[in-house]
Amino acid sequence: MRRFKPWLLALWSMSALAASGEPVVVMTSYPEEVMSRFEEAFSEAHPQWRVQILWRQGYDALPWLRQPEQGGVDVYWAPSPGNFERLAAENAWQPLGVDLRGLPARIGATPLRDAQARYQATELAGYGFASNPQRLLQLGAPTPKDWPDLLDPRLREHIALPDPARVGYAPVLLDIVLQAYGWERGWALWSELAGRARLVSRGGSLVSDEVASGRSALGLSIDFFVASAISNGQPVRFTYPVHGGLNPAHIAISAASKHPDGARAFVRFVLSEAGQRLLADPEIRKLPVRPDVYRSLPAHYPNSFRSAQRGTFAYHNSSAERLALVTSLFVQWLGQPHERLNALWQRIHAGEAAGHDLSAVRACLSEPPVSASAAEAPALLALFAARPSAGMDSVPTSEQEPLGQQEIAWQFYSAQRQAEAQRLLEAMGL
């Protein structure tokens, strides 16, 4: 990627300083609705400061913030935890320098700021199940409460599963299950679920659209997508599973900020009660990180801190390379051969319904290509840490490279094990 010329950045900074409005440059990846509401409310609360939004997807923000002068950015605010961690290690943040009283350092297993308070969570999004009550009623299936409930035979072909290779939030869904149930049992659940579900390859809101339309009775999603659909009158509900997870969106002030006072004012505002209450706007619908704010929200508004006390959010956010690894594993092992996987699981379920013991066949489809300990090997994780990414899509690697060779090996494993499952089924006349 080419970089901006330093003199252009300097000129931009000078022009910004010359302006009486002194724009605070906020880099974010939030949708228009979030940006507009916060920009407007901040300007009203602090008319002396003007905000200029510099929009960058999470994967595209790192190169920008690593430029000289950090690309003129004063504040980075985004639901990309890995970026904050990586840049903190590079001393890219200055101390926040704002009063953090009333803001817990942790919710469930999720830390809400780093030990030096260089970045702080501003809101949370919860993972869970979007459901269409009418369609569930038609299917005679209860609303699933936790992940194993998704394997209810009545839900077969009625679950929309966001493709982890294409939908940004989906890798964490994989990881929540792997953490909650362990590597082997977790992957067995994913194999069977993938074998019953339809892979949805477009953006998150489409899962809500598909569930609301009744095409799927259930979909795996994030709470704010579904809450937005609900507030728009769509016939859809959201359930936080017993084993849930949260994605925090942090905020930090760049070490090179030219407007630290304005940046600090913006951070204070986002974390203030007024800023936190904005999160409940029907256009935003995120979970505040200031527990006191929940008291002023409608009674039905989900209280993430109360849920955490019940143990709902025991998930600990994994590193970017771990998420890239589990995504790739899903794609190579379960995603690419999805059609065949689906057909095999259908035969297994039919056979079991007829009273056959198909545990050996199940094992062929359920045992992942790598063990839990192998998946934690630094050398393997390093391959994924180095993987270039272009948004939702990982850049394909060549078979000449170690990463490409690894992924091909997983594909080959998948083909072998599926062939073995098929052989076993045929041997039993199924």
Partner: protein
């Protein structure tokens, strides 16, 4: 239509129309005519582009790069919130978030259109990418007045005065200005399908009260000829692709095959020297997806149209003379791209013609044949849902009217007799009229 599409569309339609109290997605529905997976895919692709945040090039986000060098906002949806109208800032120091100010100097360009300001171009771009100073800030200073209706009710009106600050490229002297809020973007494909002959017939049809109405003739960049104008507040764009490409270019700084040059004037050196990504920044395929999306966004259906008070209000609408310009019903002709939009009865409540609206609304900025006092008749379909979907959105070209009543009271020129009849109505009848307008 296969089952998947039927269910998806039905669900979307139900979500808009099935919940009387919650209709916030009513401006975001596809026309029922969409009949295949491929069409729905194209619709959703266009929807994604309309909501996409554009980023500064160079970027790893290749499909979204190209913002600026000068721009107003970074998404289309910013100026058309929930596909509805934008809003004028009530505070003169508040930034314009869903509106902009058009600029020009006296005279015309080679095709009869506006002559852009030699330094600032044809609209004020408040923002610039790094290294390119934004052009400055526009403010609306409000002047307030009061109108008394015949029954004694007083209505406060406000009128904006445009003021500039922080001008980065020198003073803006002798400039023609026109403040514009973003327009609603549904129903546009059907309006595109109204054929030119129909518009000319409407223009030449005899009308009462001195109402005239005329067609604007504007330049088609693609076909390199003058054509009937139908989009834009002064009907200065001939078709939807050009309207879309023009807005992308002017508001976001996105180049297309129709507008391949960056939006920099010769005097804006930093703008001209700014780094750029692959050109055009929006290719023909994606422009086509945006066109498809906007062409197939349905206007919301009317509600409670058969209720007696609504029918009484409708009758009043006609008796006051409103329907001479806000023509209730039209039939589309042949759509150039999408047959499903052809020969459809529609209820847009517009004639798409230019009318003299009087001195109070004049922007004194001619645009092709449209004089400074002339504006295209605003379509009224969806009007009744505006308060639900985009509360606070302004009416009229610059968002000055905070209510429909205020908007009516600004009508002058050819619309003066109709406005005077409205002012003379007793309160109960005015409410019947408003009830009808809320049903649109």
């Amino acid at each position: 239509m296969n089952t998947r599409c039927a269910l998806l569309v039905l669900g979307l339609l139900l979500s808009a129309g099935g919940h009387a109290e919650v209709q916030r997605e009513a401006f975001a529905q596809p026309l029922p005519a969409l009949a295949s997976d491929a069409q729905l895919d194209q619709f959703f692709k266009g929807r994604g582009l309309f909501r996409q945040a554009w980023v500064i090039a160079p970027s790893a986000d290749e499909s979204a790069q190209g913002l600026g060098p000068l721009y107003n906002r970074i998404t289309c949806i910013a100026c058309h919130p929930r596909n509805g109208r934008g809003q004028a800032p009530g505070d003169s120091e508040a930034p314009m978030r869903s509106m902009l100010v058009r600029l020009s100097v006296p005279g015309t360009d080679a095709h009869g259109g506006v002559l852009p300001h030699p330094v600032y171009g044809d609209q004020l771009n408040e923002n610039g990418i790094p290294g390119v100073p934004g052009e400055g800030r526009a403010h609306l200073d409000w002047q307030y007045s009061e109108v008394t209706l015949d029954d004694g009710q007083r209505v406060e009106l406000r009128e904006p005065r445009i003021r500039f600050s922080e001008l980065a490229y020198g003073a803006l002297n002798d400039v023609q200005t026109s403040a514009r809020v973003g327009s609603a973007v549904f129903g546009l494909g059907l309006l595109e399908a109204v054929d030119a002959q129909t518009l000319q017939q409407l223009a030449s049809a005899p009308k009462a009260d001195g109402v005239a109405g005329r067609v604007n003739w504007v330049w088609s960049v693609e076909r390199q000829r003058l054509e009937v104008g139908r989009f834009g507040l002064k009907a200065n764009q001939p078709d939807l692709p050009q309207q879309i490409a023009s807005a992308l270019h002017g508001d976001l700084g996105i180049t297309t095959a129709l507008y391949p040059q960056q939006n920099c004037t010769p005097a804006q050196i930093e703008c001209q020297q700014a780094e750029r990504g692959p050109q055009p920044e929006l290719d023909a395929q994606r422009l086509s997806a945006l066109h498809f999306y906007l062409a197939h966004l349905a206007a919301p259906p009317r509600r409670k149209r058969d209720a007696a008070p609504i029918k009484q209000g409708e009758q009043l609408f006609s008796e006051l003379g409103c329907g001479q310009c806000h023509i209730p019903r039209l039939t589309t002709g042949q759509h150039p791209n999408y047959p499903a939009l052809s020969r459809q009865p529609i209820e847009p409540y517009t004639d798409l013609l230019l009318h003299d609206m009087g001195a109070g609304l004049a922007d004194h900025r001619p645009d092709y044949l449209a004089s400074g006092r002339e504006w295209r008749t605003a379509p009224l379909w969806g009007l009744g849902l505006s308060e639900v979907i985009t509360p606070g959105a302004g009416y009229l070209h610059d968002g000055r009217a905070r209510t429909v009543t205020e908007a009516i009271l600004w009508h002058d020129g050819e619309a003066r007799p109709a406005r005077e009849r409205f002012s003379a109505l007793p309160a109960a009848q005015r409410e019947l009229l408003m009830g009808f307008l809320r049903s649109l």
